[in-house]
Symmetry: C2
Subunit: 237 residues, 2 copies
């Protein structure tokens, strides 16, 4: 927790918050903070600043806040990924959020197991919790939008062209990779396939709406590793 | 498992292996392979090729193997990281191994909790298992060396100069970052700190032996994300 994310309901006064639960525990056990210390705080979808500890015991912590800086710039990259298996979805959401991705689409493809869509990790509360962890990690306050799209073809035909308009269109797919990574960061829409990859039909559909294949080389990476690596390749200055 | 890693003890004949347990389960449940299919296999620290399924039932799988290609090139990067907390150590080892890192040092620093060194995840069998998973993921066969170093100063003073000789020397540390990322891949020694970062004394010691600070920007990443991102930045062509 490199930043303590604060929500409207935490405020007991205009500039004073009272926290309990996970955030209190973290401040006590990991930060080992004491009355008088200051911690980095941020307001949900708002500014970043400091929270000065007024009071701290085992049931609550009270902070006087002042918000001074804007959150870090969002990454100009929209991430569209085949829904990963539940145990890696959270980690991948945390990683993408911590890197500043603000729009994430989870997509059904041929090789996504249907059962993944019934996992509790897709519940709104679970996803929200992963986003909170990602924001706290990346010292950010602005929540990404996470969209679930269970039908590949209507998504690619009807929605994707507008999402990807005026951006570099990249699909992470090793075969017939044609796209060299450009030198400079530019707005990008990145599509990442499932374990086992896209089927040829899906690649054709993506190519029809302007996507070009990008290879990461002969090694294949886990989704929670591949996403940060791809973002780094595409977004480095 | 993008490659099935085979060990000497798996061979029941010069070119025939018999497997059970985890690898059998994976071939049945994930690959859903059948007699007659071919799977990508690799020999421990050796070549890569195909395994043709001669026989498959719920207790074992028999493959006739032929090894034709060398494993992928190792990454010319030595990774030295402050020992992460147990629950992320395995994931970070898998990620680094899947990307081709061949020399990994786990180092004690001031902000590494001493208890981490007593975790069962540091057992030889556990570490070996993470390396196997990383190699299977990255389609590689060559095991990384993993070294444990519990004393920071003797390591940096006596061992590190030789490890890092003739390589670019980088420490991931945001303050006073001076090192711009070079355009082309070159042999590199990368040092990554613990949660909470290095203390000033440690940074000074590393600078004394030639290390320069590299910043990833204002966002802070989890170790299992930071390592792949740093490797990508330093090793991209």
């Amino acid at each position: 927790m490199n930043l303590i994310l604060l929500f409207d309901e935490d405020f007991v006064d205009a500039d004073v918050v009272s926290l309990s639960g996970r955030r209190l525990q973290h401040v006590r056990d990991i930060h080992r903070a004491q009355v008088g210390d200051s911690l980095i705080v941020g307001k949900e979808n708002g500014k970043i600043g400091l929270g000065h500890i007024l009071d701290l015991d085992k049931n609550h912590i009270t902070l006087k806040t002042e918000f001074t800086s804007p959150p870090p710039a969002p990454l100009p990259l929209t991430l569209i990924m085949a829904l990963p298996r539940p145990r890696v979805l959270n980690r991948t959401l945390i990683a993408a959020t911590s890197m500043g991705v603000k729009n994430i689409y989870l997509l059904h493809t041929n090789r996504v197991e249907k059962s993944f869509w019934h996992s509790p990790v897709l519940g709104e509360t679970k996803i929200h919790h992963s986003l909170v962890l990602g924001l706290e990690q990346g010292k950010d306050t602005v929540f990404p939008n996470v969209y679930l799209r269970k039908r590949f073809r209507p998504f690619v035909e009807d929605e994707l062209p507008e999402i990807a308009a005026e951006t570099r269109k990249i699909v992470a797919h090793p075969q017939n990779a044609t796209e060299a990574v450009a030198e400079r960061t530019q707005p990008t829409t990145l599509v990442v396939g499932p374990e086992g990859g896209f089927i040829p039909y899906e690649i054709e559909k993506l190519q029809t709406v302007g996507f070009r294949n990008l290879s990461l080389g002969e090694r294949i990476l886990r989704i929670e590793t591949a996403v940060p690596v791809l973002i780094t390749k595409l977004m480095s200055q």
